[in-house]
Subunit: 311 residues, 4 copies
């Protein structure tokens, strides 16, 4: 259950304060040139320390590739990338009672107190770093084969939808010792038609399954999403309100997905000490893109199954 | 990909105008008394023909059990239930060009014209009938083991949130030859804590994966969902805004999930003939409940894996 | 667990004395002409009643197709085929204590007495009939895409390897109220190279997994199999001792697999009444071929995943 | 496909001459004390350099645990263990043409020359080292919950079945520049009854699937295996000829499985230079045990699914 994918096979591991976190990606095609700078730039988008708004923690997030890539070219064998944990301040989290809005209690229910929950352990948002690495690989593969481009943007931070004011809102929350959530929209263009299945592995199902494993995601919608509930059929049938997916299968139009990110539960106001982002939405952006890329790549693998029979 | 579940194994089949539709449920526990009346009543909730607002089609939706249940008791072996298709008016759908908002085009892209798309074929909402059957079995098992209760309600039809006016809205849309969508909320109480995994098989992931295979679902949210994006952390941490799931794992509080159902794309206004519901939200209600029940049952199976080691 | 396959998805169901047995095949390509006569002839190879050596039971084994095939052409949607059970003599099996060599006891351990074990229930060799149906579909698809041919033969019945004497051996055992086992060899030619994975889904793993679900199979070997244990490397490296698979991946040479079939445990000598085959090896032949065909078809689907990247 | 398991989730990675090899084990129960000395002793059983008969290569095979275990106790989160590759002599394998009996050609067919095949790369027997690590964890868990013990022995080296003469046979083959295969038998006692499913995930299927992913395994048999083909039913029904599995489900008797290991294909006689074992059977012993342990642990997880319903 720490694995995901039907043909592409992800396997994730690691705790925030353990020796390392990482991911293994099975099924990745051979012969793909892996641009190390692109990987690094994607990792940097998720890394902390990029501005005054962001946590002061220092996470290098350098991915060390243990297998599957040689001389910057994929081999076809499983790719394992790890990120060594360094400079974690474990004492920050000692003897903390169950924090509201966190996984502390559910981890205790499930693992009976054996989980190392320092820094939220395996539940930490830090575990999304390996996902961004895997997502970067997926973007490269999709770009090469189909010229697919996947780009996200923040469309809302709390009540604010004006992009230029997002940072001010975050600053204000920080001063209050509080935190903010928001909404991210990802659009994928040049998505091949025919990805997804009518049932159980609909394109929406597969993308949403992955997105909902990202901590803090509490909602996922496609196309006009919940707004479609308020449209009449005559309106909903027009344009790309379905977000590039009909009957569970992509139609080649831009694939649009939106997720809501809840406000960081760790807040000074609740007496939680330590260095925490007042708003993780900016850092979540590459994670959400990564999920979309990985789901589309897996679906594109499955969609090839008919190729010897149907041209 | 027409299969779903990690330990519980669903496999669905059938076309709207083929001989029969059905589902096989593997992994269901033995020794459970299956109340045939309850099954029938759940099927009736999804069946058409219940009022003036609803399609005039006559679908018996009687489930014939081919295996796995003997003398109303589950055997432990796979349960296959089928529903024979009768009285379909195939001519209604002859030579229809790709209808907007439908799977007609994506089915063509994927299956190159070989899919029998009469009545939307394997993409028909009718294929959710077997899901309701499976969901009824899941409700019975969850009730017996954990006293879990799963109940849904319509919280919005188009712009209307007043329950007493839903039917008027639907009537008005019907007269216009148009259709309406809405929002369904399902609450599950007495859900055991500890269901779900931190990553990839979070409770949200698993439930959403199944919900998004239901035709017409375009959004899924848990707890306060997209509204959490507008809360501050200090507010979001309180109450049950997380909808009974934290860190991907259930915490024993009521599990709350909401889905949006898009308006039926088949509308007279667009020149589509045939008998179509102006609003499928009421009939979708038991389908959404069924998905929640099936996902929780599967997660409850997985959660047992530790039982020989941890009491 | 009643499902099998990574991209091709099999789901099997049914008890020997229930209403029907059947299988659903997901992922089968659209547009393939299904020769109903070929299906019937494959089913006939497994059916009883073909000679004096064989059980006198009358099983029609006519497959009724519920979905996924229209006008003898596959649609791309899941194919469900069922076989109605008729004329079962349930009384033959009433109140039988656990029979040696049967699943009676293990079924009781697992299902606590709730399994309908008349005619061995879901454990019956009869459940392999749907596999033969699915295997026939797989043979058709493999033949069309790759010209693959899959043929089996009996290479041993008990101590006898002379084909012309097999029936005499069986007759002799029948007279003694005893039963015989044997060895079946299946060869597949024109198998595409590159099927299978280095680990966990090696071609051997995938084929063997399916073969070992056939009741009565107690051993599986590839190429020269157990005989390779006695060869020196200098000999083993020559010819096709590896049976067309190296490093878990097919090399295009004939794929050779052998299985041992244990003697039928139901014997008059042990006081078991009813009509039983003194030797099921002849009827198992098409079942073993079916497994090989299904495993190769699934592997061929997976092997297509690289096609957008590598020509 | 580099992943295995239904509830227990293995994911393997690494090339013989890459930075590291490793495995991630998901689903392992929390709270289990992991005896580091036992892990080391199991790794040592597979490591080379134990005698004159064995390869002179120096492989430390120290497992570095990156996650999931803290202070020698399992946490419940995925366990990743890696083994750093050091001191590989890459030049030994430069420009080698396809070697007979190796994966060289099939790797080329599948990965189009992009796989790093130095030391056989991801196809190397070295990749079984992480399996031994995972198997040691499985043995510990099975021992704790069920007191299960899993032990293997060599029953044949080439034509020799006298244990005291195995090393002489290997020495003789080494002098000839040739290699030998053999047969390993593993017995598991105190296996809980009720593990496995009637179809597709029979205990035999699940164990064999894993065993056949071990390079060099070309045959798998249970109980009396291929010898059962030569017995009459009256004999086969007695004793434990079925090797503790009936109808695909364990019956609590000792589970017996045998595998054949083909002779090492790398032989001086064929002009292959480098340091190669003349017989890998002794080192394969802990690998085969590991597979049995892992398959039984996964099956034991699945078997718990009924526990809330059936006591």
């Amino acid at each position: 259950m720490n694995t995901w994918g039907n043909v592409l096979k992800l396997s994730i591991f690691g705790e925030s304060h353990g020796p390392a976190i990482g991911i293994t990606i099975g099924g990745y095609p051979p012969g793909i040139v892996i641009d190390a700078d692109f990987i690094a730039s994607e990792m940097a988008r998720r890394a902390p320390g990029q501005g005054s708004h962001i946590t002061a923690r220092k996470e290098a997030d350098h991915v060390q590739i243990l297998s599957g890539i040689k001389d910057n070219v994929s081999e076809g064998s499983p790719i394992c990338g790890i990120i060594t944990n360094t400079g974690q301040h474990s004492d920050d989290y000692k003897n903390i009672p169950f924090r509201p809005g966190h996984a502390d209690e559910t981890a205790f229910i499930k693992y009976k107190g054996f989980a190392d929950m320092r820094g939220s352990g395996h539940f930490s948002g830090r575990i999304t770093a390996p996902l961004v690495f895997a997502g970067a690989l997926a973007k490269i593969a999709l770009k090469k084969a189909f010229n697919t481009e996947i780009n996200g943007k923040i469309v809302r931070i709390a009540g604010e939808t004006d992009e230029t004011k997002f940072m001010d809102s975050i600053d204000a929350a920080k001063k209050e010792g509080d935190s903010l959530g928001g909404i991210i929209e990802v659009a994928a263009v040049n998505v091949p038609g025919g990805l997804g299945e009518p049932f159980f592995t609909s394109a929406e199902s597969h993308i949403a399954e992955l997105l909902f494993s990202v901590p803090a995601v509490k909602g996922v919608e496609f196309g006009s999403g919940f707004n479609m509930a308020e449209m009449k059929g005559s309106e909903a049938n027009r344009d790309n309100h379905n977000g590039g997916i009909l009957g569970g299968i992509t139609n080649g139009k831009p694939l649009i997905v939106r997720v809501c990110i809840k406000p960081t539960p760790s807040i000074a106001k609740d007496g939680v000490t330590g260095r925490h982002d007042p708003c993780i939405v900016p850092r979540a952006l590459p994670v959400i893109e990564a999920c979309a890329a990985l789901a589309l790549l897996d679906l594109s693998f499955e969609a090839q199954r008919y190729s010897p029979w149907i041209k």
